[in-house]
Each structure stands twice: as structure tokens, then as C-alpha cells.
């Protein structure tokens, strides 16, 4: 989807069907111990009706990316650079009032733990009706009717009775349905789902995933699906972004990510998960641990854990195009070999080469 030309011309008009585009987004947290670059130059885009999967381990910046899109970052964090273009307009330049209009209307979000994101002292119906009232010119009665209708849509039996119940009276799966009902009550163009099924059991997860698929189909809505579960990604996503240490390591369509991954991190992740029906003597492992965000290595963030690490990895690797629509942040050539400049190329040469090869904005 992304070609280098597309990004090179700065204030380009949005291409048809382009819903959200992140360009070099940077969100940093200024803590007492130093600066945490939670999101550090993230670039990707979501087209209308598309499901983009964002995958990575905890601390990779996937949730902060989503919060940055909705401008929900609070001190000590700050979006320090880049653009968040919604239909070509930069959300980072919106006023707070304008932004409030975007939230819910164009972009909705659902969170991992429905119990902590629903208000325990209001009924589920009240909470959905409130969202409806805020965004549409309706009276209380109409808003309530709409809330009941939404509960029915997300498959809650006896919606009229359930609307009068409080979150604690419902099971985890039901609560997540309420969250989805609330998020969809204003018919958004983009739904950001942050680990929507992580807290749920597999049979309930299957229900919620089927529900999201059906709603996506009907509402022609785009989804940004954030998860660490590669199974959920494979099930749902059209495109996949793999994040590590606040950076996008690899980006491609789902089939490519799972069948021809280029980045050693993606390969490591895929190799390390046990899969149903494939009993192996030993699991492959990614050595070591995720680096401390306050003390990231120079050059490639993954080099200390990477089986392919070379001297040149001390210089920040290029984001190179492996194939059309497939980019990877790595020194390995598209064929998976050491770079042509040599694996022990001097830093200046490496830096120059990295800039030449990089296809996205920085």
C-alpha cells in the first residue's frame, strides 16, 4: 500500500479511501529518570474499511500510539512530533473542542479491561445513552431507545432489561459487548480496539471476534486492532504493523507477515509461539529481554537479541522496502543477506546508506 512516492510529497491530499495516516509520530514521556521514547517515529496508514493489526510485546508503544491518535496522552507524556492525518487533516492541530467532536464521532475506542473502563455507578444503558446524547441532537428518551437498540445489535439477550443493569451485574464478555455497543453507538469510521479480547476466555473471545467481523462488514468501519496475540491478528487483520521499542519493525499485509516475514524480530515472534497441532520438542526463543526504555541501545533496538546481528547494526538500520507494500527496519537485504555495503561498514558509510535505503519519512 505505501509506496515511497506517496510519503515523499509532504502535504499531499489524501488518496481516495485513505482514512488515517500516521507520519513519523513521536510521543515521549519525560520522567524523573529520563525521557522514554514510547512512540518514536511511527508511520502507517489505514484505509476505509480496512483492519490494521498492531502487534508487539508489552512496552512496545502500541497502546501509546492509539492514545496519541485520540490525543489522550497526559503529562508527563507529550506528542512531540509527526502528524496524525484523519482524512488529510492533522488531528494534532485541532483545538480541544474540535478534538472532542472527533472522538466518538469519527473514531471510537474500546479498551482491554471492560470493568475498569465502564463507570460502576451508572447503568450500562445510561452510559451508552450519554454517548449518544453528546454526539447527536436527541432527547433522553430517544437516546435510551438507541442504547437498547445498540445492546441488541451486539448480541445481548433481553437488551431492555440489561440496559438497566450495572456493569458488575454482567460477565466479562457481556461487559465487552457493552463497550463495543457504546463505541459503535455513534457510528464511527474508525474503531480503535486495544486488546479487546485479552481478558476474555477463548470461547467468549471467539464470540467477540465474530461480532467485530460482522459489525465491520455491516458498518463498513475500519479497525485498528492492537494486540499481542498473533492468533487474533491472523484471524482479523488485513495489514499488520509489528512494533518494538516504539518503532515499527515491519509492515505488510497479513499473509506476507505470517508467511514471508523479513524482520528477524517478526520471525522470532512467530517461531516462539506454541501452535495447536504442531507439537515441537522445544520452542524457539528470542534470547534476552525487551530493552529498558530509558536506556535503549544505539543503532538497531533489537540487535542484542537478534541472531543475525552484525557490526553494522550499531548504526540505525534503514526502513527498506522488501517488496511492494512490505517494509522492514533491518540491515538485511530483501533476500535476507548482509547489506551490500558490507556487514562491518564504517558508521558514516552505514548512515549514508541507511538514508538512501529508507523509504518512509525518516
Amino acid at each position: 500500500m505505501t509506496s515511497s512516492s506517496n510519503v515523499a510529497s509532504p502535504p499531499a491530499l489524501p488518496t481516495a479511501g485513505q482514512l488515517l495516516e500516521l507520519r513519523d509520530l513521536r510521543t515521549h514521556f519525560y520522567t524523573q529518570d529520563g525521557t522514554v521514547r514510547a512512540v518514536d517515529g511511527v508511520t502507517f496508514e489505514i484505509r476505509d474499511g480496512q483492519t490494521l493489526g498492531v502487534v508487539g510485546e508489552s512496552g512496545c508503544g502500541k497502546s501509546i500510539t492509539a492514545m496519541s491518535v485520540l490525543r489522550l496522552i497526559e503529562r508527563p507524556g507529550r506528542v512531540v512530533g509527526g502528524q496524525v492525518l484523519l482524512r488529510g487533516k492533522d488531528l494534532l492541530e485541532y483545538s480541544d473542542t474540535e478534538m472532542r467532536d472527533v472522538r466518538g464521532n469519527q473514531i471510537s475506542m474500546i479498551f482491554q479491561e471492560p470493568m475498569t473502563s465502564l463507570n460502576p455507578v451508572y447503568t450500562c444503558g445510561d452510559q451508552i445513552a450519554e454517548a449518544v446524547e453528546l454526539h447527536e441532537a436527541v432527547n433522553r428518551r430517544q437516546a435510551w431507545a438507541r442504547a437498547v437498540e445498540m445492546l441488541a445489535q451486539v448480541g445481548i439477550p433481553e437488551p431492555a432489561r440489561r440496559a438497566k443493569q450495572f456493569p458488575h451485574q454482567m460477565s466479562g464478555g457481556m461487559r465487552q459487548r457493552v463497550m463495543i455497543a457504546m463505541a459503535l453507538s455513534t457510528n464511527p469510521e474508525l474503531l480503535i480496539a486495544d486488546e479487546p479480547t485479552t481478558a476474555l476466555d477463548v470461547t467468549i473471545q471467539a464470540q467477540i471476534l465474530e461480532l467485530m467481523k460482522a459489525l465491520r462488514e455491516r458498518n463498513k468501519m475500519a479497525i485498528m486492532l492492537i494486540t499481542h496475540d498473533l492468533g487474533v491478528i491472523a484471524e482479523m487483520a488485513d495489514e499488520v504493523v509489528v512494533m518494538y521499542g516504539g518503532k515499527v519493525m515491519e509492515r505488510a499485509d497479513a499473509m506476507t507477515i505470517f508467511e514471508r516475514p523479513h524482520n528477524p524480530y517478526t520471525r522470532g515472534l512467530l517461531a516462539s509461539i506454541p501452535r495447536l497441532g504442531e507439537k515441537r520438542e522445544r520452542l524457539e526463543v528470542i534470547q534476552g529481554v525487551v530493552p529498558n526504555p530509558l536506556n535503549l541501545p544505539t543503532g538497531c533496538l533489537f540487535k542484542r537479541r537478534c541472531p543475525y546481528a552484525m557490526p553494522v547494526c550499531d548504526t540505525a538500520p534503514p526502513v527498506r522496502q522488501v517488496a511492494p507494500g512490505h517494509v522492514s527496519r533491518c540491515w538485511l537485504t530483501p533476500a535476507g543477506e548482509p547489506p551490500r555495503i558490507g556487514e562491518d561498514a564504517p558508521p558514516e558509510l552505514a548512515e549514508e546508506s541507511a538514508q538512501e535505503l529508507t523509504v518512509m519519512a525518516r
Binding site: 445489535q153 461480532l211 497441532g277
Partner: protein, 404 residues
């Protein structure tokens, strides 16, 4: 380290009778690992589905109900959560028995009752042919040397005020290893065994990552040189790349020390990887118990089938129609009559709602060698039937949406 040492004075080691089976001090490595009959035995014959090893832990008709009290004084018994409701199985020496099920099915309670961390309502558990529920405190203390536990949350299960050395060394201290130098030596050895830096012995839990903390938890479980370890969701809180490290570690330790695991988890792929046999729990009962390959290839309980079908596979080519169970797990306070799964059962629907599913409670019965299932209609499960059940279920919920 004054705290733990002050505490030891109240511990009177002598009255704990030495275990007849392991006369050697606890902190010496086990001499006998010969009877390890895990799946990775050298020959195929050893792992034959029927292989009966020595039974290490025997669970007989175990019941655990939690009373629900109410009324003015809070003493009237209103009912009970039937968390574990008649469970029997054996764990054989050297094997890993996996236990899967959804939250609320009773698997964690079962693990705790087996360890006698919770008192049972009825039933029996014996380890090495020795029933544990009647034992006095001091006798129980001796038995605890044989059975240890690794908990799910590596953040909550380590005392933040104790150093790693104190955490791992506490068990040996309580069980009589009072010499500080020897204890430290032991702790260092254990840290090395679980892949931690031995020089980190004086650090506190917050200085470690999640995966490292879980290694500390494992070292603590190993400190008394147990035969049997209950692993309660040991990798669920860990990141994918760390999860595989810990699973491999558990594997290595099992081989090296001849350990026996009861591995409780909800992740079916993880359980498949680590287990020799697997039990599936639903509403306080085991509904299927089989060798791992049989269970994952040819499940004979409709709940197992649905559970396996629900797992999203990390392969976009294998996106398929899944068998989605409707509704939630019923309340364990008032489980459905007959077969507890009948309210959500796709097979029952397919067979035209036979009467006995509602009236008769199915017993766990042997379907094939090494496979037991608690379903009246196990034999009616066919690949075609599963396929058609997946395809003929109503499209999710939007039917209702269209109606209004």
C-alpha cells in the same frame, strides 16, 4: 536478613518425621530420576498411550464448595459455589498433566485443594500413597517438601520486601537448613539452575523483569527438591517471547530433576506443548481426560471440540468457520441438570435434543485406551458433524439487529 533468622527459633524441625522415601536431606539433589517416563523418553514404546507409570498423586472424588452466606448475621447458608464437584484423576511420576478450562471452571481451586492450601469439602488426595487431608500440621509440613507451586502472577507472588536470596531460601530455612552459608550456596545453585545471574541474590523483586521473576518463583518451588509441582498459569502473564523461555526452562528442569507437573492454564496451545496428558474442566468437573495427541486430534467431548475450535490460529490461511458457543458459562451455584454442558451444547442440538442430556449426568467413561470423556453421545462426534455445526450456526447476533 535478621528477620527470617529470628523466625526460625519458633520452628521446631525435629518433630517433623523424616520422610521414609527420601531419607537424604532435602536440599541435596534427588538421587533417583530413573522412573521419569515423560513423553520425551528415548524410545517410542515408553510414551505409548497406555503406558501406566507409577502414580505419584491420586485425586479421588474431590469436592470443594464455597458456601454463600447471608441473612441478618451472615451465617445462614444460602447455597454454595460448587467450584470443584467430584473430580478424580491420577498424576503419574515424571509426567505433565495439563488442566485446561475457562475462567471459573474450578481449575485453580482444584490446584489449591490438591496442595491443601484450601480445605476440601470431601474427597481425598494422596501423594506417594499417603492421604494428605488427615495429616497433622507437622506431618503436613513434611509432605509439603514433596509438593510445591508456581503461581501465575510473578508480581504478586513475590514479597517485595524480601531479597531473592530470602525468597528462595525461605523454604529451606523453615524446613531446617539454618546454616546461612549453606543456604546461600543452595540459593546460588538454584538461581543458576533457573538461568538467573547468581550475583543477583541480594536484589529485590522489583529489579527484575516479569520473565525473571517467574524464574525466581520457579527457583523457590525447586528449593525443597519436590517431586510434584503445581504450575498455576505460570506463563499467562508473560510476553510471547518470554513465555517460550519459561516453557523451555520448565521442560529442562523436568528432565533434569525428574519432576512431575500439574500444569494449569487456559492457553490450549501452551498446554498442548507442555503436557503428556490433558484434562478439560467445565463447571467443576473434568469432562475429558486423554493423552495429549489424542485429545487435540480426536476430541470426544463437544466442549473440548468447541474449545479447540475457538482458538485463533496464527496463520491467516487457516481462517475458518469456528464453532462459536453461545452464551456464557452457567453459574456454578446452580449448575444445569444432567450434563452441565447441555445448555450450550452444539452436539445435543445436532442430535435433536436427546432427553438424557438433561436428565442423566454423564460419567467419565473410557472411549478408547488413554481417553476418557463424560458425554452420552461421544461416539456421535464426527469431523463432518463438527464442520456442519460450524457452518450452520446462525450468523452472530446481527440477525437480531436486522429484526429491529
Amino acid at each position: 536478613m535478621t528477620g527470617p533468622e529470628a523466625r526460625v527459633t519458633s520452628q521446631d524441625r525435629p518433630d517433623a518425621p523424616p520422610d521414609p522415601e527420601s531419607g537424604s536431606p532435602l536440599w541435596k539433589p534427588a538421587a533417583d530420576t530413573g522412573s521419569h517416563t515423560g513423553r520425551r523418553g528415548a524410545s517410542g514404546a515408553e510414551t505409548a498411550p497406555d503406558a501406566q507409570g507409577e502414580v505419584l498423586v491420586k485425586v479421588t472424588d474431590l469436592v470443594k464448595h464455597f458456601p454463600i452466606r447471608g441473612g441478618l448475621l451472615g451465617i445462614r447458608r444460602l447455597g454454595a459455589v460448587r467450584a470443584v464437584d467430584g473430580v478424580s484423576f491420577d498424576v503419574r511420576r515424571g509426567e505433565t498433566l495439563g488442566l485446561v478450562g475457562e475462567s471459573g471452571c474450578g481449575k485453580t481451586t482444584l490446584g489449591k485443594v490438591i496442595l491443601r492450601l484450601l480445605p476440601p469439602t470431601s474427597g481425598d488426595v494422596s501423594i506417594k500413597d499417603r492421604p494428605i487431608f488427615g495429616l497433622s500440621g507437622s506431618k503436613m509440613k513434611a509432605v509439603r517438601e514433596d509438593m510445591q507451586v508456581v503461581f501465575q502472577d510473578p508480581y504478586a507472588s513475590l514479597n517485595p520486601r524480601m531479597t531473592v536470596g530470602e525468597i528462595v531460601g525461605e523454604g529451606p530455612l523453615v524446613h531446617g537448613l539454618k546454616n546461612r552459608v549453606k543456604r546461600e550456596e543452595l540459593v546460588r545453585e538454584l538461581l543458576g539452575k533457573v538461568g538467573l545471574n547468581q550475583s543477583h541474590i541480594h536484589r529485590y523483586p522489583h529489579e527484575f523483569s516479569g520473565g525473571q521473576r517467574q524464574r525466581i518463583g520457579i527457583a523457590r518451588a525447586l528449593a525443597l527438591n519436590p517431586d510434584f509441582i503445581v504450575c498455576d498459569e505460570p506463563v499467562s502473564a508473560l510476553d510471547v517471547s518470554i513465555q517460550s523461555q519459561v516453557l523451555n526452562l520448565l521442560d529442562d528442569l523436568q528432565r533434569e530433576l525428574g519432576l512431575t507437573y500439574l500444569f494449569i492454564a487456559h492457553n490450549l496451545a501452551v498446554v498442548e506443548h507442555i503436557s503428556d496428558r490433558v484434562g478439560v474442566m467445565y463447571l467443576g468437573k473434568i469432562v475429558e481426560l486423554a493423552d495429549v495427541d489424542t485429545l487435540y486430534r480426536d476430541a470426544r467431548h463437544p466442549y473440548t471440540v468447541a474449545l479447540l475450535s475457538a482458538v485463533p490460529e496464527p496463520d491467516p490461511r487457516r481462517r475458518r468457520k469456528r464453532l462459536v458457543l453461545r452464551g456464557d458459562v452457567p453459574s456454578p451455584v446452580n449448575p444445569p441438570s444432567g450434563c452441565r454442558f447441555h445448555t450450550r451444547c452444539w452436539l445435543r442440538e445436532q442430535l435433536g435434543n436427546p432427553e438424557n442430556c438433561v436428565t442423566d449426568e454423564p460419567e467419565l467413561r473410557t472411549i478408547s485406551p488413554g481417553q476418557q470423556a463424560a458425554c452420552h453421545w461421544s461416539e456421535k462426534i464426527t469431523p463432518e458433524g463438527v464442520q456442519s455445526a460450524a457452518e450452520h450456526q446462525p450468523p452472530v447476533t446481527l440477525a437480531e439487529a436486522a429484526a429491529d
